[in-house]
């Protein structure tokens, strides 16, 4: 039963994951944290951090991790395959028709209108982590959290490597809270 739920959730995430990367966060968050409660908000932020430090897209990383935490090894296999299937199928179709598809004004029109939606969804993922609905596993626990947040905003604006930022923040965490 849990296998079916994982399969269905990650098929949905794969199918509607337009924009890739961070744009998929809100979708994953909605399925994994809000709908099923497989992870808390804080655990979700942990996965994003782990995903930044390890190779591979966040969608696949989160599938493997969530699948394993809720249903063991086969859970991780099912979730990972499920999240890959829809984009794989759609891409194979698109590849066969790709020159025609690319110039199609309707496809272009739909894509233009989806762009702000995708940006809004990245915003929603951030908002849910900034101001969660419950206190369990929240990301901001004291003034230090907000200071680190502000420093990271400035650093990423200055194009500091995100992997380096994550490593530095881990060190800061150990110094402050350890």
């Amino acid at each position: 039963m849990i296998y079916l739920q994982l399969l269905y959730s990650y098929l949905k995430i794969g199918f509607f994951g337009f924009g890739g990367g961070y744009a998929m966060l809100s979708l994953i968050q909605n399925e994994v944290v809000v709908q099923h409660g497989w992870l808390t908000n804080g655990q979700f932020a942990d996965i994003v951090a782990i995903s930044q430090m390890t190779p591979g897209p966040i969608a696949i990383n989160s599938a493997t991790y969530v699948g394993y935490s809720v249903a063991g090894f086969w859970g991780s296999v099912i979730a990972t395959v499920a999240v890959c299937l829809p984009p794989m199928t759609l891409m194979l179709l698109a590849t066969r028709f790709y020159l025609r598809l690319r110039k199609n004004p309707y496809v272009a029109g739909a894509m233009t209108a989806m762009k702000p939606v995708v940006i809004g969804m990245i915003g929603a993922a951030a908002l849910l982590l900034l101001f969660p609905h419950s206190d369990e596993g929240k990301s901001f626990i004291d003034t230090w959290s907000w200071l680190l947040f502000a420093a990271a905003l400035i650093a990423s604006h200055l194009k500091v490597n995100p992997i380096l930022l994550i490593i530095l923040s881990a060190v800061a965490g150990i110094v402050i809270y350890g």
Partner: protein, 181 residues
């Protein structure tokens, strides 16, 4: 000879080194697939990127499907996709198994307390760069979507579908006007 194993290994290498995912891997794909292997032309690669961005799913996955399929059909696509997915799958699986035990370690917990707010900042950063060149109505839509999903719990899937439908209707309406005028 563009062997299946060659395709697999090339994408395995891309899979191992795409830290951060997404756009970080584009230069790597360029080097492996265009400069070294000469599997596709540069112009074709640019067109492929647009396509990979419009399709749902991670860009690395979409790119590997395209290149693999072009080289060896369905078997090539399967070889490429396994190459991209297997490294990240194995690493995360190890972390998930290991992390379960060490998560309660006070030092690890302290490290993650430091990382969580920084992750939020990293999520916010691309919003600014993506919003460049977006018209004012786009900003309004983006803000409305953010609040709808975050505060009112509206399904992101529903909003994506609405966005696509709105774009289609707008194009239809524009084309009809053009035909009449």
């Amino acid at each position: 000879m563009r062997g299946l194993f060659d395709i697999f290994i090339t994408f395995f290498r891309i899979g191992i080194f795409t830290f951060g995912g997404g756009y970080a891997m584009i230069p790597l794909i360029e080097r492996e697939v265009i400069d070294k292997k000469r599997w596709i032309e540069h112009q074709e690669f640019l067109e492929l990127l647009t396509l990979a961005q419009s399709a749902p799913g991670p860009i690395s996955l979409n790119t590997s499907v395209f290149v693999g399929y072009k080289l060896r059909g369905y078997a090539g696509a399967a070889a490429a996709i396994s190459g991209v997915v297997i490294p990240s799958f194995s690493i995360i699986l190890l972390i998930a198994i290991f992390f379960f035990d060490i998560r309660h370690n006070p030092t690890v917990d302290a490290a993650f307390k430091g990382m969580r707010p920084v992750v939020v900042a990293l999520i916010i950063a691309p919003i600014v760069s993506l919003s460049r060149g977006i018209k004012p109505w786009g900003i309004v839509v983006a803000a409305a979507v953010a609040v709808a999903v975050w505060h009112f719990g509206v399904s992101p899937i529903l909003l994506i579908a609405c966005g696509a439908a709105a774009g289609l209707s707008w194009t239809l309406w524009k084309n009809r006007k053009k035909l009449k005028g």
